[in-house]
């Protein structure tokens, strides 16, 4: 049951082999037993989950079930969830019970899915190891000495350790794909604007995008069908015809042109990762695809550009946390300004403060043009590079991360080394293009390697097809650490 695909679970529920209440209870039990070790969840609320499960069982009995009805989903603690503690991994929101639901939560609720718990994450999604969480680090299920990646580290761990059949994540610079790669699962960041940002606590508004994390591409397609869709409450939400992301899963790959950016196969990638990626590319060639070298000359600037734009937007987005209307307020303070300064100094962790300071600096008088505007111009050049590349290929591939999972504590004292974990992933956030990671083997210390697949705008169905065909031919995605 814990290894079953979403399709299998749905079938079992439909055939009444198991009820949603039973399924939910089983996962809750497993979380109770194993979460103390993994720390993948910040909040579990059996009562609320089981109430949803009972409602789902009624839907199933009434013949109103959809593909996700009755299936437990772990929700990243960045999605505001009515009646649930929603912390965003921060002390600042350690007492915040959301009075409203995020658009994504509403969609899962409407689909009859069960919220099995709120997953741990880097504080305000700022981090690549889950070590910046106020609620402590999460362990990588493949090797408890290793980080799970971040910021959606709790979500990746929960899926890999089979604490949940699937999970949601958010991705601002790689926060779905990097932990998916490090934990050996599949995850996709859709085209910017497909998943509602309403109620998804903002880190960098122009880069943030929610997406699913699961064991396989096929599961991702089902999840995407529920998660995406127009939301009038989000001005950046796109109005598009509803699509079935599973529609092309079975298409053969013959004739597919895979672009390999030479900048992504240069120095920086470790040998073990390179060898796993090369094997995966060989598999694709066997499946009938051809590979072509492409160039993204400005791609190496994605990290500096990202570390201007994301902190700039974050510094402003996080100004609302002032201890006036909700969230942490310092216990003792002098005047009004002191209350603000102390509440914010106490409520935010070191990495969040660091990024607020970077962002405040690059927007401040005299530096705006040199940093912020410059970064926005380079952002356009990077997007133009990708547009050029897609003239020669259908899809782009490379490593998701330069190395396999690093050890807990290994990079937490060195922000720059940590930032470089997102060296291949942040470009897709800058351009708004969809990108995903799928497991393609193991590297040093038997830690997972992820293949990064970047598609052109709105090519999710094709990307899932490309991932699914690989997963039909291989079994990396079926391997479990537990």
């Amino acid at each position: 049951m814990f290894n079953a695909s979403l399709k299998q679970l749905s079938l079992q529920l439909a055939e009444k082999k198991i009820s949603s209440t039973e399924l939910t209870t089983e996962f809750l039990k497993r979380i109770k037993a194993l979460n103390p070790e993994y720390n993948a969840f910040i909040t579990v609320n059996e009562e609320l989950s089981l109430a949803q499960a009972q409602a789902a069982d009624k839907m199933i009995a009434a013949g109103q079930a959809g593909p996700l009805t009755g299936i437990p989903i772990a929700q990243k603690d960045i999605f505001c969830t009515k009646g649930w503690l929603t912390t965003c991994g921060s002390k600042m929101l350690s007492n915040f019970v959301s009075p409203y639901d995020a658009g994504v939560i509403e969609r899962f609720n409407q689909a009859g899915a069960i919220n099995i718990g709120k997953t741990n994450m880097d504080e305000f999604a700022m981090g690549s190891s889950n070590e910046t969480s106020f609620y402590g680090p999460v362990k990588n299920p493949w090797d408890h000495a290793a980080v799970p990646g971040g910021s959606s580290g709790g979500a990746a761990c929960a899926v890999a350790a089979r604490l949940a059949p699937a999970a949601t994540g958010t991705d601002t610079g790689g926060s779905i794909r990097q932990p998916a790669a490090l934990c050996g699962i599949s995850g996709i960041k859709p085209t910017y604007g497909l998943v509602s940002r309403y109620g998804m606590i903002a880190f960098a508004s122009s880069l943030d995008q929610g997406g699913p994390m699961a064991k396989s591409a096929e599961d991702l397609a089902l999840l995407l069908n529920v998660m995406t869709g127009f939301d009038p409450r989000d001005s950046t939400s796109l109005q598009r015809d509803v699509e079935d992301y599973a529609r092309d899963l079975q298409k053969p790959l013959a004739g597919l042109r895979i672009g390999l950016p030479k900048e992504y196969f240069a120095e920086g990638m470790s040998k073990d990762v390179e060898s796993a990626i090369e094997k995966a590319l060989d598999e694709y060639r066997k499946l009938g695809a051809q590979t072509v070298e492409v160039s993204l000359p400005n791609a190496p600037l994605a990290i500096p550009v990202y570390y201007v734009l994301a902190p700039a937007e974050a510094s402003s987005n996080l100004s609302r946390f002032d201890g006036v209307r909700y969230g942490h307020r310092a216990k003792s303070y002098g005047d009004l300004a002191d209350m603000y300064r102390k509440s914010r100094a106490e409520g935010f962790g070191a990495e969040v403060k660091r990024r607020i300071l970077i962002g405040t600096y690059v927007l401040s008088h005299g530096y705006y043009d040199a940093y912020y505007i410059k970064a926005q111009k380079l952002r356009r050049l990077i997007a133009q590079d990708f547009a050029e590349a897609y003239k020669q290929c259908d899809i782009i591939m490379g490593p998701t991360t330069p190395t396999v999972a690093f050890n807990l504590g290994e990079k937490s004292g060195d922000p720059i080394q940590m930032y470089l974990s997102d060296i291949y992933t942040s470009a897709a956030n800058l351009t708004g293009m969809p990108a995903m990671s799928i497991p393609v083997g193991f590297g040093d210390k038997n830690r997972p390697v992820g293949l990064h697949i970047i598609g052109n705008y709105f090519s999710e169905a094709q990307m899932l097809n490309v991932a699914h065909q690989y997963q039909l031919a291989t079994d990396w995605h079926l391997q479990s650490p537990v």
């Binding site: 009038p232 307020r329 002098g334 403060k353 300071l357 380079l378 952002r379 997007a383």
Partner: protein
């Protein structure tokens, strides 16, 4: 570009985050490293490039002018640090 401790303090002040001398010094070291990385941007000539603010070139959607919200004060203030008579309380505001 070289940052100083006073830059760090000025920015912390703008961001309303209390920071002491030691923290400012520690932060300076980290920010200096990060800004060295950021400075690599300056190598590319972007004089003819338009800044890109949004991933999609779409335009602002407009909402019809209609009242759709109801009074939820009780619920919203149940999570507030300090309220009285329906107001959020803060240390005296001096204008």
């Amino acid at each position: 570009m070289t940052l100083s401790v006073s830059d760090v303090k000025r920015v912390a002040d703008l961001a309303y985050i209390e920071i002491d001398e030691d923290e400012a010094k520690e932060t300076l070291i980290q920010l200096s490293g990060i800004f060295n990385l950021i400075e690599t941007m300056q190598a590319v000539d972007t004089s003819t490039v338009e800044p890109m603010s949004h991933a999609q070139s779409v335009v602002q959607r407009l909402r019809e002018d209609a009242v759709t919200e109801t009074d939820q004060r009780e619920l919203y203030q149940s999570i507030a640090p300090q309220v009285e008579a329906g107001l959020y309380l803060v240390p005296q505001v001096i204008e």
